[in-house]
């Protein structure tokens, strides 16, 4: 569904991505694992178009989207739930969700999408009239994912959804991610540092280190290779 070939990008004179390649298959959860500062978020934002790629190619559903602007990608069914949340803190929960249904096809299904998000995150339904800024960290994370779902995506990219959450809440987030795949048929590209939990959820895993893909495989393969675990994951 999404194919990235030898992507290069960075900030100013500093190159961050050194030609990583990656493929996301339809209906699967693909995880990009790696510690802090190896370029995982840069990878996602470059694929999404917020940062212009310096080189390499990005294909979405066999179409070359390397230079397609971000808002067009959202219309094509690709969405990013960004790191650090970026919610509209002065708006209520349901207003945040409504804001998500901006593109045409999403607006047409706004009400059902909201119901869908509420069924996925019952907590958000309970708090729908609360200001987003007054939510707890976990709830804000749910709202970020919920708002991304409002765009009616086919492929959702999640940037560290478990970041800063208590272990119990993190487990809950991963459960929801599995539900999104099973019940909604979504394809998911997950970026994580939390190796244990994301290995459990993933179908296929890529391991990134210093802007390069160092290893890849089905999640059992990665889990069973003590070499990879020790070298890159520290577990």
């Amino acid at each position: 569904m999404l194919r990235v070939r030898e992507l290069e990008s960075g900030y100013g004179p500093m190159q961050v991505l050194w030609k990583p390649s990656l493929e996301v298959k339809k209906g699967r959860i693909t995880t990009l694992l790696g510690p802090n500062g190896v370029g995982k978020s840069t990878f996602l934002t470059t694929v999404f178009g917020s940062i212009k790629p310096w080189g390499g190619k990005i294909f979405y559903e066999e179409k070359d989207v390397t230079l397609v602007p971000t808002h067009k990608k959202v219309e094509m069914g690709l969405v990013l739930a960004p790191e650090g949340k970026h919610l509209f803190l002065n708006m209520r929960v349901y207003e945040n969700l409504s804001m998500g249904a901006y593109v045409k096809k999403a607006l047409a299904h706004k009400e059902e999408s909201i119901e869908l998000v509420y069924s996925l995150f019952p907590r958000l339904k309970e708090r729908k009239n609360q200001l987003a800024g007054s939510l707890s960290g976990g709830e804000q994370q749910m709202l970020t994912i919920g708002r991304a779902l409002m765009t009616k995506p086919e492929l959702i990219m999640l940037d560290e959804p478990s970041q800063g959450l208590a272990p119990l809440l993190a487990t809950e987030v991963f459960k929801t991610i599995l539900k999104m795949k099973a019940e909604m048929g979504l394809t998911i590209l997950l970026v994580e540092q939390n190796a244990e939990a994301s290995l459990d959820a993933a179908d296929y895993v890529y391991i990134m280190h210093e802007g390069v893909i160092k290893a890849e495989g089905k999640s059992e393969q990665i889990r069973n290779s003590s070499e990879i675990r020790e070298a890159y994951l520290g577990v």
Partner: protein, 333 residues
């Protein structure tokens, strides 16, 4: 049908304010001068609010659009005054010129500056009006620093009486009409997809991008709209009221700052805010300069500071917040 009408309820208080202002000016002797200033501030605030209020970007070069609009009117009148058949139509042509020139300048400025965010945008725009002024003076465009005086041409084509009625009364009425139009456009934007996109980008530009909003496009729309209205205000309040134009006067950054104060006092991004801000600012400035001439700025500064501390979101912004769910709020946005 009912819903469509309800959408436009918030225009009532705005129109009411303008109506009262107009009546007071017309019927109370000696008030027209103050009312004319207030209408100018209202129109200025309402026009600037479309950009500053809706996008959250501060444009320090805003007065340049008013200046260019003034030149648009001046050029139309000086170049076409010999065509007797035009009559009052010359003013309409002047407005068209003002609109086009302000819009063109805003496209040029916006295409470069709107790629920057927040403070960087503000810094980039500071130089716009100064740069434009020096360009006109240095390159001797449109008579350079000699400016343009077109009282004679205006008298020639409109007749002395009409020309004087235009500058003392009708110009102010046109400013009022521009303010009303700007309010209408503001509300139309707020209630449409444009407002939706602009709200998202004002609150969090990164989030707006993630939602599939083409932020650059909407920033440019707001910028051009706002600049076009500024051009019209300049063409009326400056070119028609005082039929001359000198670069240092129409590119004076002071007016940009007044516009910023008006919008922030009243409440950025609200419909009624610029009107409230213009009235507070205009009236207090006027009376302070009468009762305490020479000291008005000294007293005015602390007043503004106090209002900003008490109402960080502006007077109307504060009202909106405190009465979020009441019926009153159907009329105030």
């Amino acid at each position: 049908m009912r819903k469509t009408v309800q959408r436009y309820y918030p225009l009532f208080p705005v129109f009411a304010a303008y109506f009262i202002l107009f009546l007071v000016g017309k019927n109370v002797s000696g008030m027209w001068q103050l009312v004319s200033t207030l209408l100018f501030y209202c129109a200025l605030g309402q026009a600037f609010n479309i950009f500053l209020g809706m996008t959250g970007y501060v444009d320090f070069g805003y007065v340049a659009f008013m200046g260019v609009g003034t030149y648009g009117m001046a050029i139309a009148i000086t170049r076409l005054a010999h065509v007797e058949a035009l009559g009052v139509l010359i003013v309409a042509i002047g407005f068209a010129m003002a609109l086009v020139m302000a819009a063109l300048l805003s496209v040029a400025v916006g295409a470069v500056a709107l790629r920057l965010r927040g403070a960087y945008f503000a810094i980039a725009t500071i130089g716009v009006n100064e740069g434009f002024r020096f360009l006109i003076e240095g390159a001797k465009i449109w008579n350079g620093s000699d400016g343009m005086i077109f009282t004679a041409q205006l008298n020639q084509i409109l007749g002395r009486e009409t020309a004087s009625a235009l500058s003392t009364f009708w110009a102010d009425v046109i400013v009022l009409i521009i303010a009303v139009l700007a309010a209408f456009v503001t509300l139309f934007y707020m209630k449409s997809k444009i407002g939706y996109a602009l709200t998202a980008l004002r609150e969090d530009e990164d989030a707006a991008v993630v939602m599939g909003i083409n932020v650059t496009k909407y920033k440019i729309i707001a910028f051009i709209t706002s600049a076009s209205f500024a051009g019209l205000v300049g063409a009326t309040s400056w070119a028609l009221k005082t039929p001359y134009v000198f670069p240092p006067e129409v590119f004076e950054i002071h007016y940009t700052i007044e516009a910023i104060i008006i919008v922030l006092l009243g409440g950025a991004g609200t419909l009624l805010g610029p009107v409230a801000g213009a009235l507070i600012y205009g009236i207090s400035k006027y009376y302070l300069s009468i009762f305490l001439p020479g000291f008005q700025l000294l007293i005015f500064a602390p007043i503004i500071i106090i209002i900003i501390i008490l109402f960080p979101e502006g007077v109307i912004g504060m009202l909106k917040k405190s009465f979020r769910d009441s019926t009153l709020m159907r009329f105030i946005i």
